[in-house]
């Protein structure tokens, strides 16, 4: 070579340094980024092995998918740190440990995950409980901001539903018959595209329904919903229902009692339990007309019964949405007992409450007893009077109509008999 012949010292130093750099570069390349050695074998789609149970496992790794992934710049051996396998040893190559430990880098996520339900299930030996790669993928992990990522907000439901909408899985793991997929898709939350499974259930630290630290534990539900609906949660926690729910009364309703779970619908949707056409038929009466609850809390089922017999209730049951339902007078999230001065049905507020629909309602208008049941043995004077009116009228109807019918029957009988004789 020309430069060697020239014997220039400077050139030889430069050459030496370059050589060192080249060697170092090659070494680092093997160690950190040049995975060509691994891919030399693992891009063969037919590469397989059999695990201890005799199950065939594909050892194919798509190079393109890996290069595009968030870990694309890492070396295989960064994750597959430990090799004991004979096959790899033969070739003199480093090879993968059986288990990849994500926690090496993702320490915080691991810590959260270990508190969650999925990790506990794995510790119990459950086979299909989700590991890191079940939700994040393996070689093709994309950042969650990428719309193709398995953990992108638009794909999370698909990721979770791979197991949780599988009827066999749901049955095997005793999750009831709950298959949230379709329900959620049709729900008001599902339609927004901004709320997904993890919004309520959490992600790494997702916990069981019966875990008091769970976001979906009964008394935590108002706070979970409140992360998006803070005003409503504030109203609710001060209401009679919210106070009891916070004390752990399982009979006291929380958000989901009225709104449902996965299939929450907008209140204008006729299928929504809080639709104005259903609220007084199914939603409130599910507790307030229930014998057990009314017995326990000394609330009678009278309000529901008497409402159904009142003008409001009769018209409502005929589909009249202008007619008052439970919420019209009692409020929605902020229902308070009548003794509470902030209650819509507190005696000082009744005139205003009635006046919403009956403009010009006087003070006297709001004084009367509501939810009366006509009975001669009733406590209220009005109940007694109406009870007596009913008895008098029923006697009157029976005697008058009975008398008229009997009279006409004799008339008809005579005329028919006489006709037969002629």
């Amino acid at each position: 070579m020309k430069w060697r012949k020239g014997g220039s010292k400077a050139w030889s130093i430069l050459g030496g340094v370059l050589t060192i750099f080249l060697i170092l570069g090659w070494m680092t390349g093997v160690a950190w980024s040049d995975n060509s050695l691994c891919f030399g074998c693992h891009q063969d789609e037919s590469l397989k092995k059999q695990d201890a149970r005799g199950k065939t496992i594909s050892l194919f790794v798509a190079e393109a998918g890996f290069k595009d992934s968030v870990h694309g710049k890492l070396s295989c051996s960064d994750c597959h740190t430990h090799v004991k396998d004979d096959k790899h040893a033969e070739g003199g190559q480093k090879a993968a440990d059986k288990k990849v430990n994500c926690a090496t880098c993702h320490e915080k996520a691991e810590k959260e995950y270990l508190q969650g339900l999925h990790s506990k299930m794995i510790m119990k030996g459950m086979e299909r409980a989700a590991n890191c790669y079940d939700c994040h993928g393996k070689h093709n992990i994309l950042p969650s901001k990428n719309s193709k990522s398995m953990t992108n907000i638009s794909n999370i439901d698909k990721t979770c539903n791979r197991c949780h909408s599988d009827a066999v899985f749901v049955k095997d793991h005793a999750l009831g018959a709950a298959i949230p997929k379709e329900e959620f898709k049709r729900s008001v939350h599902g339609k927004t595209g901004e709320v997904t499974c993890t919004s309520c259930h959490g992600s790494h630290s997702l916990r069981s329904l019966i875990d008091p630290k769970s976001t979906i534990f009964r008394s935590n539900i108002p706070q979970t919903c409140g992360s998006c609906h803070p005003d409503i949660t504030k109203q609710f926690t001060e209401s009679v229902h919210g106070v009891l729910a916070a004390r752990g009364r399982s009979d006291s309703p929380t958000c989901t009692t009225c709104h449902g779970f996965h299939g929450i619908k907008a209140k204008v949707d006729p299928d929504s339990p809080v639709n104005e056409k259903r609220i007084a038929l199914t939603t409130c009466p599910q507790c307030h007309a229930a014998e057990q609850i009314s017995k326990e809390y000394k609330i009678t089922t009278t309000p529901v019964k008497s409402y159904y017999d009142s003008f409001h209730g009769l018209s409502y049951r005929g589909g009249d949405t202008y007619s008052a339902n439970c919420a019209s007078c009692h409020g929605v999230h902020d229902i308070r007992p009548s003794s509470d001065p902030k209650s819509m049905i507190h005696k000082d507020n009744l005139q205003k409450t009635c006046g919403t629909c009956h403009p010009g309602a006087s003070e006297n208008f709001a004084k009367g007893k509501m939810h009366i049941v006509a009975s001669i043995s009733g406590e209220d004077f009005g109940e007694k009077v109406v009870g007596w009116v009913r008895i008098v009228y029923i006697l009157l109807i029976v005697s008058v109509i009975g008398g008229l019918t009997a009279f006409n029957f004799t008339d008809w009988l005579r005329k028919t008999i006489d006709r037969g004789r002629h």
């Binding site: 049951r317 005929g318 010009g360 009116v389």
Partner: protein, 281 residues
Amino acid sequence: MAKKYLRMTLNERIQHLNLAINFTILVITGFALSYSTAFWVSPIADAPLGMTFRGFLHRLCGVATLTLGGYHLLYLAFTARGRGIAKDMIPGLKDGKDLWETLKNNLYINRPAKALKMPRFNFREKLEYLGLIWGTIVMTVTGLILWFKTEWLQFFPMWSWDVARAIHFYEAILATLTIIVWHFYAVVFNPDVYPMSWAWITGDLTEHEMEEEHGLELEKIKAKQRGELKEFPEAAAVGGGRVYAIRREKVEREEGKSPSVRRFYGIVQGFNEMIKNWKGT
């Protein structure tokens, strides 16, 4: 064809039809509220704004019935025929006797059956007419209380409204059943008139029907006609057709009806006269 006797003028038949339609709508739209989950209410309940329209229609027909009642009162007060009706409608001891004897006939206690001669309005009709007046008053008063609750509850306690509501409901049952049991028997299921008495359409009764139900009235009419026949030659000799007209004017003036009132309600009267002439009776 048998001789016919005017029972209802066209005006009265329109009143009757008006009441029948309004009453039917009131019954349907009223009970559609009381039994709003019943199967037959579904056409109302399922329609958009069905219950709101139901309420509106109920009030509308209530007002119509009330207006008809008002008109009927004026008709009774300011027409000669109306005053006649009102007078003949007053119940008396004879009606009680008629009822009693009819019952005895029906039960074969009277053997042979006593032939009863009943007046222009027999006990059946008086009972129903008075019942109708009673019912209209009760339903109007309670109905207006229910309607104008804001105004009513300025002065009266809530329980009075509840009482009005109870009365309105039970009186409605009473009225509806009375119409079905009493009225429909008399004009439909009564073997004498079955399948139907046509008087509400044609306006008249046959001589046979008059004998059966209004024997006394038939006798009266016949006696009057005999009298008119006697008078007829005299009238014809004096002035022919015009005599009747002059005489009528004179009679009215003697009855003390002021000309302005007559002008006001003359339309009704003239209408009736026209129908009468048109029927040729």
